[in-house]
Assembly symmetry: C2
Homo-oligomer: 415 residues x 2
């Protein structure tokens, strides 16, 4: 089944908010055998919203909209939907009760603007929003096509889609075609180098299998999709081709799941009972942040040090001040001592350390912006290198974080 998504809000069109809802929806509908056909982003403008609904219904049986339902003046979606599907605006007491309940839990008093949340088109069926005040509205056209209007807050949308909207859609539209995804996380290749390496295999794929390259700094996600009515057949075929591909790529495969480098490392550390710490200069806490974002991180992440100043490198991590003077803070001797220091102060077996020039300032001819020294250390085994990354400050930090995590993954995979 094809699904169209409409993301509503002026804040998206002027770029002050990045839409993550459509991506979430896309990632979570495939197990139901559905596909996102297109995503439209429109402003808080009645004509635009109406036109986008028309277009979406041309393409799809189900239209999911997010946003445009807040209590303030700039949100007009609800009245557009009332015009579109007919009926009139009515007060739904179950919504008022729900809003009261949520406000009571948060210890806030209801005000007239939030009370307006309970006014909905009579043509919709309300699905109660357990985690927010804007109701979810289910509309059906005479031809059986469905539009579900949801709030724009990502946490509310994702929770309520999983709990209520997807189950209701599955009941309404049982699906015949199954879509199977598989993913390999691959390092050590450029996109085109990888394409050449696997071209013979790729050419031989049958029509119902499709390969996509999703390059990220430092690694490439290879996604193999299969479409077929026979679930068992397509699962088996995707699994078989994935095994062939893993064989071709060997140690360049970091994982056969869609995991971030931080997730791969954390999983390996939890499985092997290895504690982790970090010593970060140019990555400024990002490695620790990526690791601790993952549930269960506290099982193995002991902590870390952001040693931005040389004072912290020397006093907290025990780096030799003489080595900093002799080699500079961005050097292999310093980053190796940082890793050993992190192991020591946080009592961990594995440590990663970075020291580099994230820019835009601070570069020199010898060490230009993007130069990053990286060390991963497991017990007394080390992997270290001086890498050169391109791009903005954020991109250099991101690339250095990824590379440091990959070095740590390589070390722990040998354990």
């Amino acid at each position: 089944m094809k699904v169209s998504v409409i993301v509503i809000g002026d804040e998206l069109l002027i770029g002050q908010v990045v839409d993550t809802n459509s991506g979430w929806i896309a990632r979570h509908i495939s197990p139901y055998g559905w596909e996102v056909n297109d995503v439209q982003t429109v402003g808080d403008n009645a004509d635009e919203i109406r036109r986008s609904i028309d277009r979406a219904f041309e393409l799809s049986s189900v239209v999911l909209t997010t946003g445009g339902l807040g209590p303030t003046k700039d949100d007009i979606t609800k009245s557009v939907l009332c015009d579109y599907f007919g009926g009139e605006m009515v007060t739904d007491n179950s919504v008022t009760e729900n809003v009261n309940r949520i406000f009571a839990r948060r210890g806030i008093k209801m005000n007239p603007l939030t009370a307006a949340q309970a006014i909905v088109p009579s043509s919709c069926r309300v699905i109660q929003n357990r985690v927010g005040t804007a109701p979810i509205m289910w509309f059906e056209r005479e031809d059986g096509k469905v539009l579900v209007s949801m709030p724009g807050v990502p946490f509310e949308t994702s929770t309520m889609m999983s709990e209520a909207v997807f189950p209701a859609l599955r009941e309404r539209f049982p699906s015949p075609v199954h879509i199977e995804h598989a993913v390999l996380m691959v390092t050590d290749y450029t996109e085109s180098g990888l394409a050449m390496k696997i071209s013979a295999w790729e050419e031989s794929l049958p029509e119902h299998l499709h390969l996509a390259y999703l390059p990220k700094p430092g690694l490439i996600r290879l996604r193999l999709d299969g479409h077929h009515e026979d679930v068992a057949f397509i699962r088996e075929e995707v699994a078989r081709e994935l095994a062939v591909l893993k064989d071709i790529l060997g140690p360049a495969v970091l994982a056969d799941e869609d995991l971030t480098p931080a997730e791969i490392l954390l999983k390996e550390c939890i499985e092997k009972g290895v504690t982790i710490s970090t010593a970060e200069s140019c990555t400024g806490g990002n490695i620790a942040h990526e690791l601790t974002l993952i549930p269960g991180a506290s099982e193995v992440v002991n902590g870390g040090v952001v040693s931005y100043s040389n004072g912290v490198k020397v006093n907290v991590l025990g780096v030799s001040a003489a080595d900093i003077d002799a080699n500079g803070a961005v050097s292999i001797p310093v980053v190796r001592q940082m890793a050993a220091g992190a192991q020591r102060v946080a009592s961990s077996r594995l440590a990663v350390a970075t020291s580099g020039i994230a820019g835009p300032g601070g570069g020199s001819e010898e060490k230009p912006v993007g130069t990053v020294c990286i060390c991963a250390r497991l017990d007394d085994k080390e992997l270290y290198e001086t890498a050169h990354f391109n791009g903005s400050r954020a991109r250099i930090i991101d690339s250095a974080t990824t590379r440091a995590l990959i070095l740590a993954i390589k070390l722990i995979k040998e354990l």
Copy 2:
């Protein structure tokens, strides 16, 4: 002038990559007096791409497309554009030279797949991509409407839009209407509470001014937009109304620029010459990361400690083990000692500290998931509180980070 954006790539429709290009475009075209009218996200499918171009040209004079130009098999945009605008595929030697130059700089040899980048529709004018291998293609229809096709890599797109595409568009479409944006970052209010507080002022706004509420965890961005042909008039009017709004909201206004809390804090610290450090438990390095993501951070950020384990809290930050035993790690006494410890080990005047339960596990009846103790400390002045946040682990980390930064901003604003 209206601009439509088409973002191309299967990876977007299955949610494995989040589109940041359309937001970037939206944020950066407004100084030219242009507006993004709509954004369409489509897969690597010829019919869909063709249909989305038709729709975009119905709405706008300029269509910007990103993505679908990589050297691998799943990218078909170029041949669709050749069909759409006529002509045939030809080799452009200037693109070959550009690709050679970029590969030489990266120390990589050209391969047949990247050579294919130089094959372009004869109907386009090529704009050389200084930072990547996929060429930028400029197409004009007989009615004068323009489509510019750009690569999907955000760094390449943003660089080349700023350097080449926007200047070329400005020359081609000189604009009469000017759009003026102004932003206030507001804390201490809920969205509906804020709407009630400023309703009288908001009702009195003339038609060419529009207010939008952009809530984020812990703060609300208020965006005031003005549209007018007279640049000086609309600038003055937006500035005057903004001043009135600031007056109404008083100390709840954190900044009158579109800055993140980390940017506001860093700016204040740099202006006042105040050094910063962090002591993070549940935020796991995210505060340090958000601060060090900003160019110039090294002027005032000395460093920090991610004290995930109690061992690191005691041994590195000097927190009393007895106080951890008596009050638990998530407690005001512990977080105050963490802040003081961060000041000491990193020799900073300002420190922020967090200790909390980010979930999904680890909660108790007394301290449920989302409980976070936060302390900001400047010299010997402190602001501390126990906050309760909702949502996922990532959202709780994000909310705690924002709140810690806001407490630090409140302290430094009093300096």
